[in-house]
């Protein structure tokens, strides 16, 4: 390095400058101690993004260690761009979920689009071809003045990106709750498949190896995105629109194909996408993981704008870019591939033995920082936390019974909480790649592993109102619901990715929510041997001191060994309906409670992990044995809603036989007791299935039969399916004034 070192006599930045970079006074003291001097402006910018909550996980790191992350199926757990699990026969699934909450609120279309682009890069960086996208969206109250605009923008942005790149968007979930009014959540998940022998990691190695920049050019967009994502919103947040990046799915498609083409060759030592904090975090992460230094010459960075300085280039979050360390000598081969795909390719530096990040620009050494100061030695906090007192159980008698269960069902199915999401997923190409076996709308989507008879089951789940009422129970429930959804298709649940969205961790009650949810999740994961292999934490989701409900989003994948033995939710005529699992009529925090009383109250339904495991293992066995191919788990809205969804999916009515007298009807029909499945089975197999359930210790009873085009409940007028369908499908189009 010929450039001069930043001066030992570098003057201290002003306190205002430091605060503007999101660095606390005590953190600044630590910075100076690690650096041995004051930072220059570029270095302050680099510290600011690397020490941001978004990049450093400084509030969450100590707790994340509680999550189980290993298992025989796990090839790579947390710490890489994405998690990797073994699918057998030389193939692996690579997957992760990530938030893009703050940008999506400020600019919903681009914010959501670049969220999809970012998570796909995390997956193909590791050598996988993305095969499916999912997303979990939380919006404010439907009647909030911004919600309509945000829903339309986010859905449009996700669609525009995923549709153009040609990866199917196969599933997800959408909630509305006033507590997301000023902090929506956009969590995107991507799943890819790679040969197990060709997985690429981000640890750089050696000295003197070329550091290569590929993809789109660098502009001034997204500067300080990571810092923005690590702060609360206030009334002036809309002014942060310039910190939102702009996505180009076409460039990403080219980048995907070019990277996968290069990955066929033996050229890449390490590869890392430039996501949050762009060039800074990608170079620091590669160097840190490999225990090497890295020297960059910014003169060679492909630039979209003129006159960019080092600060801007190091902090830009321009999209569709990758950083690689190549084997020396392989540059011409790699350059030819990127030229074919009409993408920039530039050698911008090399690995070094210095252990430092050294950035030069126009002959000046603009930054010279020990790598550990930016990574392992970044601040870590054990923040004080306060666990919430459990809420009382709500008895069925505390929630008014409906005059007519049929009318209540119509109301629930037509509400924003349970109405059809068709309006959303029809804007996503969910069939491109021609392997979508189970489309959106079921318990879990199923994507065939291309060219095989195997299927991947994919789902996104969490029930934020349960997490708010009881973070620990809510955390447990989020994991078991995803496990149950995979199970209901016949899949062996494999592993989890999490996207942990919370408020300001500096408030003990919010930190308590985080701790409770993590502990609950960890307990369920351990009980079900269902490890967490990747994830993301998004904190500071609050505005003017009002936080979102704790929302630990779970993305989960499972493997169906043979697609010939799988299940979906649609009833067929002539089936006998079997309910598995115990019904206790738990109405606290239920959608019915909201509709009947106007609020969610009391404790959420408790999870019995042993019972969950017994029921799930039984369901999977029944599907594998070919005894059952119609299964739905009972979740939001309870038994009657689950039955109605099965009827609509199969366009087949049902009749319930007389209800058991041990529960009030409204509690039986609408209680959200956990650990339950509904099966549609051949009439002559029903008794044997109930017997098998009994032997397995799973409560089971026959509750009705399918057929016709109406829903018939004891003592009520039959409800035509067409009317139910009309209500169920109407909410979204009506909300957008389309009918």
């Amino acid at each position: 390095m010929t450039a001069d070192s930043p001066e030992k006599t570098q003057a201290a930045p002003s306190a205002a400058k430091i605060a503007e970079h999101g660095i606390k006074p005590d953190e600044y003291l630590r910075l100076v101690e690690l650096l041995g001097r004051h930072p220059n402006p570029t270095e302050l910018g680099i510290f600011s993004v690397m020490w941001s909550e978004h990049c450093s996980y400084k509030s969450s790191r100590v707790w994340l260690k509680q999550l189980p992350t290993t298992g025989p199926q796990v090839i790579q757990g947390p710490g890489e761009n994405a998690g990797v699990v073994d699918l057998g026969d030389g193939l692996a699934a690579i997957f992760k979920m990530e938030s893009h909450n703050h940008p999506s609120y400020i600019e919903p279309h681009q914010g959501a689009a670049t969220g999809v682009g970012g998570i796909m890069r995390d997956v193909f960086t590791m050598g996988a071809r993305p095969v499916a996208n999912l997303n979990a969206l939380r919006f404010g109250a439907p009647d909030h003045p911004k919600t309509r605009h945000l829903v339309a923008g986010v859905v449009g942005g996700i669609g525009d990106y995923g549709n153009a790149i040609g990866v199917p968007t196969v599933g997800g979930e959408t909630n509305f709750d006033a507590r997301y009014n000023n902090n929506i959540l956009v969590n995107a998940m991507c799943v890819g498949i790679a040969p197990t022998g060709r997985i690429f990691y981000s640890a750089a190695a050696g000295a003197g190896n070329p550091v290569v920049y590929v993809g789109s050019k660098t502009g001034r967009d997204g500067i300080h995105g990571a810092t923005m994502a690590s702060a609360e919103f206030d009334d002036a947040s809309a002014e942060k629109r310039p910190t939102v990046q702009v996505g180009d799915p076409f460039a990403e498609k080219l980048l995907l194909e070019a990277c996968l083409e290069l990955m066929q060759e033996d050229a890449i030592i390490a590869i890392q996408d430039m996501g949050a904090a762009g060039l800074t975090s990608s170079s620091v992460e590669m160097a840190s993981k490999g225990g090497v230094g890295i020297a960059l010459n910014l003169d060679h960075v492909p630039q979209r704008e003129t006159g960019m300085n080092a600060y801007e280039m190091m902090l830009s979050e321009s999209q569709e870019r990758m950083l690689m360390v190549l084997r020396p000598g392989s540059e011409p081969l790699a350059a030819a591939i990127f030229k074919k795909w009409e993408l920039d390719f530039a050698v911008i530096g090399e690995t070094t033995e210095t252990g430092r990040l050294q950035v030069s620009h126009r002959g000046v050494l603009e930054a010279d920082i020990p790598i550990p100061a930016l990574a392992d030695e970044a601040p870590v906090y054990e923040r004080p936390y306060q666990l919430r007192k459990p809420l009382p159980l709500i008895g069925a008698d505390e929630v008014p019974a409906a005059n007519s269960a049929t009318e209540a069902l119509l109301k629930l199915m037509g509400s924003p909480h349970l109405s059809s999401r068709r309006w959303i997923w029809e804007q996503y190409d969910h069939m491109v790649m021609a392997d979508t076996v189970e489309r959106p709308g079921g318990d879990a989507a199923i994507v065939r592993v291309h060219g095989t008879k195997k299927g991947l089951a994919l789902t996104c789940d969490v029930t934020p109102r349960y997490c708010f009422a009881d973070p620990f129970e809510g955390g447990r429930q989020a994991i078991v619901e995803s496990w149950r959804n995979l199970t209901a298709t016949g899949a062996d649940p494999l592993a989890v990715t999490d996207c942990l969205n919370f408020g300001n961790p500096e408030r003990p009650e919010i930190m308590g929510e985080f701790v409770g949810c993590i502990q609950g999740m960890a307990e369920s994961c351990r009980a079900l041997a269902f490890p967490v292999v990747s994830g993301n934490v998004s904190l500071y989701n609050e505005t003017n001191g009002v936080a979102i409900p704790p929302t630990p989003g779970i993305g989960a994948i499972g493997l169906i060994p043979d697609l010939a033995a799988r299940a979906s939710i649609g009833f067929e005529p002539g089936q006998t309906i079997v309910l598995l699992g115990a019904a206790s009529g738990h109405l606290g925090q239920s959608i019915y409670q909201l509709i009947a009383t106007g609020a969610f109250n009391g404790a959420p339904p408790p999870v019995d992990l042993d019972a969950e495991k017994r029921a799930g293992d039984l369901v999977r066995m029944l599907i594998r044995l070919g005894l059952c191919h119609t299964v739905h788990d009972v979740s939001d809205g309870g038994l009657l809603v689950a039955l109605a969804e099965m009827a609509l999916a199969g366009n087949t009515g049902f009749e319930l036989t007389a209800a058991p007298a041990d529960l009030p009807l409204h509690a039986l029909y609408f209680g959200e007791d956990q650990g339950r499945y509904l099966l549609g089975v051949d009439a002559d197999a029903a008794a044997a299935i109930v017997a098998r359930a009994g032997a397995a210790g799973v409560p089971a009873r026959i509750i009705g039969v399918t057929g016709g085009d109406r829903i018939a409940l004891p003592g009520e007028d039959p409800l035509p399916l067409a009317r139910l369908r009309g209500e169920h499908e109407a909410w979204f189009p009506r909300y957008f004034g389309e009918r």
Binding site: D160, A164, K253, D429, M431, V432, A434, T436, L563
Partner: protein
């Protein structure tokens, strides 16, 4: 029987149509990179779905100027069968092998769902195995599928028997309600004068087996490949 699939930067249904062709043909088609000006000898050329060049100018507009497209147009005029699906249909209108244009959907939104179409005639290379009076279920996935031509052109196309497929209901009735995107006269597919060039908005390649939700797309490829062998 030799088939070629043209791959543009941004094509994303190239693999899907190659898989469908191989399933029916028993042999993989050639994948031809758009930058090649030489086209391998082909009995069938497929322009696949996707977002060629990101569709940033106008859907299909940039791809129409690819080096390989000059050769494709020449082959088409000499009678080689050319099938453009979705973005491929848009490219065919952009290079003038088919009249009219595909505008933004009437809903202004991307639409991905199964629709029903009916073959307007069944004496062609592509539709020989379809019944004349029954609905065929195929998926659509597009934002710009709203077929437009002026009334005079539409009358002429109808007169010349060049409408290939029309959107219809499950009962095969051609109604405004069955039209998913606002296309003039419910047009979902269109032939050139020789009826060997076809532009088609729905994706038959996504419906060739029960596991994918149906197999109504399979007779399309069977008819085509039988006809060319």
């Amino acid at each position: 029987m030799r088939a070629s699939v043209i791959v543009f930067p941004g094509s994303n249904c190239d693999r899907d149509v190659a898989v469908a062709l191989e399933a029916v043909m028993g042999k993989a088609p050639r994948m031809v990179w758009h930058g090649d000006s030489k086209l391998p000898d082909s009995d069938l050329i497929v322009l696949p779905g996707g977002f060629s060049y990101g569709d940033y100018l106008r859907s299909g507009a940039m791809a129409a100027h690819s080096p390989v497209m000059r050769a494709v147009a020449a082959k088409a005029r000499q009678g080689t069968a050319v099938l453009g699906i979705c973005n491929g249909f848009q490219v065919l209108t952009e290079i003038g092998l088919l009249p009219g244009t595909l505008m933004r959907n009437a809903s202004l939104k991307f639409i991905c769902k199964d629709v029903h179409v009916r073959a307007a005639r069944t004496d062609t290379l592509y539709a020989k195995l379809y019944p004349a009076d029954r609905a065929i279920r195929l998926p659509i996935a597009h934002k710009d599928g709203n077929y437009f031509a002026d009334e005079e052109t539409l009358d002429r196309l109808e007169g010349e028997g060049r409408v290939a497929f029309r959107y219809c209901g499950p009962d095969a009735e051609i109604t405004p309600e069955a039209n998913p995107n606002g296309s003039r006269r419910n047009i979902a597919g269109l032939y050139d004068e020789s009826r060997r060039v076809l532009g088609l908005m729905p994706h038959p390649e996504r419906m060739i087996e029960k596991d994918l939700g149906g197999s109504d797309g399979r007779p399309f490829f069977e008819s085509l490949i039988n006809g060319l062998q």
